[in-house]
């Protein structure tokens, strides 16, 4: 892109500039000896064409909507329509959450995003001993199709798109969603949405695993296959770097480990006999947005370019849609402070800009009070308004990939891509993502980064406004959301009623059919769907699978 002669001139000028700066540093020192990005990467004083001397526009960027998708996966990006403003919500009972969803739709939210409580995420009914104290706390409690019917009551499933943060029991919740749609007269091919369904990052960072790796990968590939035929508009997985980053990884690790997980899913599906272009277009990703806006933008661009190359070169994908990395973003929960929580509104605004300038397809913005409790309706509204202000007022959505061509952004994009690729190579050498997780390699890398970050904060090398600098005396915050502790009892009562009124012999029969299928090689989705339709509970269905498959044992290390 740059002529050699011009580069020589720039080099000469750059050297002179540096000599001049070095001379003046004694009198006018810089704020710090070395500058680091949010992820601890070196940041130079000045970026010039010299940093991207081998930059090739068509090879490295191309046009939006075309390989390698660095500039975005759609041709016109937000000039066509804005990203989907999708607020993750759910708490207490299906009735309460249903009210919150209707409120969010009224306020201009464009898609639903369901948060489930922990017992649901781990495949326990609300009356299981381990569910004690947990029912309805971090999301909505769903025990059976009956709860799911209430959750989506009055919400037309052929009109909304719904994202469900559910992993180990993703097949069961997807089956419940399909069954609710049936009752609304909506056929599966009309359904749009996403299940997270990413078990590897549960082993790495998020913790809501149930089954060992092999049956978990089978469930995932079963879903890929089933949806490619029956629910073709559904995103069958959301391969998540979000939680890896929340656990403390760097930006480059977020990309490297997430794409390594992606590679593992693609390999598993190919091994199960699926053609790459039948399922790869429905793969989606989920990333974090932190405060270092320029590094984050480079991260999103690097992830797109690297995935496109992997799909084309490593897996021989032919369909362009298989190569286009589309992703959801959530602003970084771990960047929020419990101190001076109003400051979090500003952090979320910066992170929103990072996600939008990075070309996200959908976005959840965190609320200011999330370091303290689940968000109130008011704080959720401010978080949604933040997206709307960026969309309608900031102008950043009016031209595609506006930061492209910045010497820093392009150099950083390349740097993150290369570092992520080094992690992927290392994981390949270890035998793939599942093996690297068993060995504890990925967890250890993340933990080292997390601990360094904490030490930097405590040593004052990293400033968090309001937390380790600019502190004030504060009154404890008022008006936090509290989940009614009686939710657990209420769910137990509903379960007892369900078990007394449903056709229990049919439930037993369907569960036995599922058990046999688990022991064989059939696709499990139709069996799970049949059990769900008979009002078998989530805990009963997962219980059968637990008996056949066993449970995952975490490798614990510090």
């Amino acid at each position: 892109m740059f002529e050699k002669e011009k580069l020589d001139q720039i080099k000469e000028s750059f050297d002179a500039y540096n000599a001049k700066v070095e001379k003046s540093l004694e009198k006018n020192p810089e704020r710090k000896k070395a500058f680091e990005s949010g992820s601890g990467a070196n940041v130079n004083r000045l970026y010039t064409p010299l940093d991207i001397a081998d930059f090739d526009y068509m090879r490295d960027l191309g046009m939006p909507g075309s390989y390698p998708y660095t500039r975005g996966v759609q041709t016109t990006m937000y000039r066509g329509r804005f990203w989907t403003m999708r607020m993750y919500a759910g708490f207490a009972t299906a009735e309460e959450s249903n009210k919150r969803y209707k409120y969010l739709i009224e306020q201009g939210s464009m898609g639903l995003s369901v948060a489930f409580d922990l017992p649901t995420q781990i495949g326990y009914d609300s009356d299981h001993p381990l569910a004690e104290g947990e029912v309805g706390k971090v999301g909505v409690a769903i025990d059976s199709l009956a709860d799911m019917e209430i959750l989506f009551d009055g919400i037309p499933l052929d009109k909304v798109s719904t994202s469900m943060t559910i992993n180990a029991p993703a097949s069961v919740l997807l089956a419940m969603y399909i069954a609710v749609a049936e009752k609304q007269g909506v056929t599966p091919d009309q359904l749009r949405g996403t299940i997270q369904n990413d078990i590897l990052k549960e082993y790495i960072a998020r913790g809501t695993y149930i089954f060992p790796t092999e049956p978990s990968m089978r469930l995932i590939t079963n879903i890929f296959e089933y949806c490619s035929k029956e629910v073709p508009q559904w995103n069958t997985i959301s391969i998540s770097g979000y939680h890896i980053r929340e656990a403390g990884s760097t930006a480059a690790q977020e990309v490297g480990f997430t794409l390594a997980d992606g590679i593992a899913y693609v390999e598993a599906a190919i091994k199960a006999g699926l053609d790459v272009d039948t399922f790869a277009p429905r793969l989606s990703f989920f990333f974090n947005a932190h405060n270092d806006i320029l590094e984050e933008v480079a991260k999103f661009r690097a992830a797109r370019r690297l995935w496109a190359k992997i799909m084309k070169e490593r897996f021989g994908a032919k369909d362009p849609k298989s190569m286009a990395l589309k992703f959801h973003t959530q602003t970084g929960g771990s960047t929020l402070t419990a101190q001076q929580p109003d400051n979090n509104i500003v952090r979320v605004a910066i992170q929103t800009l990072a996600a939008v300038l990075g070309g996200t397809q959908s976005l959840h913005t965190n609320s200011k009070d999330e370091a303290l409790a689940l968000p109130t309706e008011e704080s959720v509204r401010i978080a949604l308004r933040t997206q709307q202000i960026v969309a309608y007022e900031s102008g950043v959505a009016d031209t595609v990939d506006p930061l492209a061509g910045s010497y820093y952004i392009e150099a950083k994009t390349k740097e993150i891509e290369e570092e992520a690729m080094r992690y992927i190579k290392k994981i390949d050498e270890l035998g793939g993502a599942a093996k690297a997780i068993d060995l504890g390699y990925i967890q250890q890398e993340i933990m080292d980064a997390a601990y360094n970050y904490q030490k930097d904060i405590e040593a004052g090398r990293r400033i968090i406004v309001g937390m380790n600098k600019f502190q004030i005396e504060e009154e404890p915050p008022k008006g936090l959301l509290k989940v009614d502790p009686s939710v657990g009892e209420l769910q137990k009562k509903k379960l007892a009623e369900l078990r007394a009124t449903r056709d229990n012999s049919l439930v037993q029969q369907r569960l036995e059919e599922l058990r046999k299928a688990c022991q064989g090689d059939d696709n499990l989705m139709p069996f799970i769907l049949n059990a769900v339709r008979a009002y078998a509970t989530l805990g009963e269905i997962c219980g059968v699978m637990r008996e056949v498959f066993g449970e995952y044992q975490q490798s614990v290390q510090l």
């Binding site: 947990e134 971090v138 913790g207 933990m447 509290k482 614990v556």
Partner: protein, 132 residues
């Protein structure tokens, strides 16, 4: 005390957010304490068994699931039932200020909320450990 302070870092409840637990475990270890980390999803019974078996001086629990009011007091009760009264029990995580007086009343010596420097927790343990 003639031996290093022994700490059980435990994750009660079903949430998988173990960044805080692991960071504090490493910080305590770097501060010269002996640290045992339980891993995720420990029931109060498992935590108390581990505390007794490992003969720890401190049980430090990290919880972000919202079930703290149920699970943390249960650990103190079970320790009492086992006649263990010289173990310092502390907690941390996303725990609203409003819940802290209740937890302290139930015998949790201190609650460390987000943003607490690890040095504060280390100092608290050194000053309050019961076995000397």
């Amino acid at each position: 005390m003639d031996r290093p302070i022994r700490v059980l870092v435990a994750k009660p409840g079903l949430d998988g957010h173990d960044r805080g637990a692991k960071v504090i475990a490493r910080a305590l270890r770097d501060a010269g304490m002996e640290v045992i980390y339980t891993g995720l999803r420990q029931t109060p019974e498992q935590i108390v068994n581990a505390a007794i078996q490992e003969d720890v001086d401190v049980v430090a629990m990290s919880i972000l699931s919202g079930a703290h009011n149920t699970l943390l007091p249960k650990v103190v009760e079970l320790l009492k039932a086992e006649n263990v009264d010289d173990v310092l029990v502390i907690g941390g995580g996303v725990i609203p200020d409003d819940d802290i007086p209740f937890l302290k009343e139930k015998g949790i010596a201190e609650i460390f909320t987000p943003g607490t420097p690890t040095s504060v927790t280390i100092d608290f343990i050194r000053a309050n450990v019961k076995r000397k």
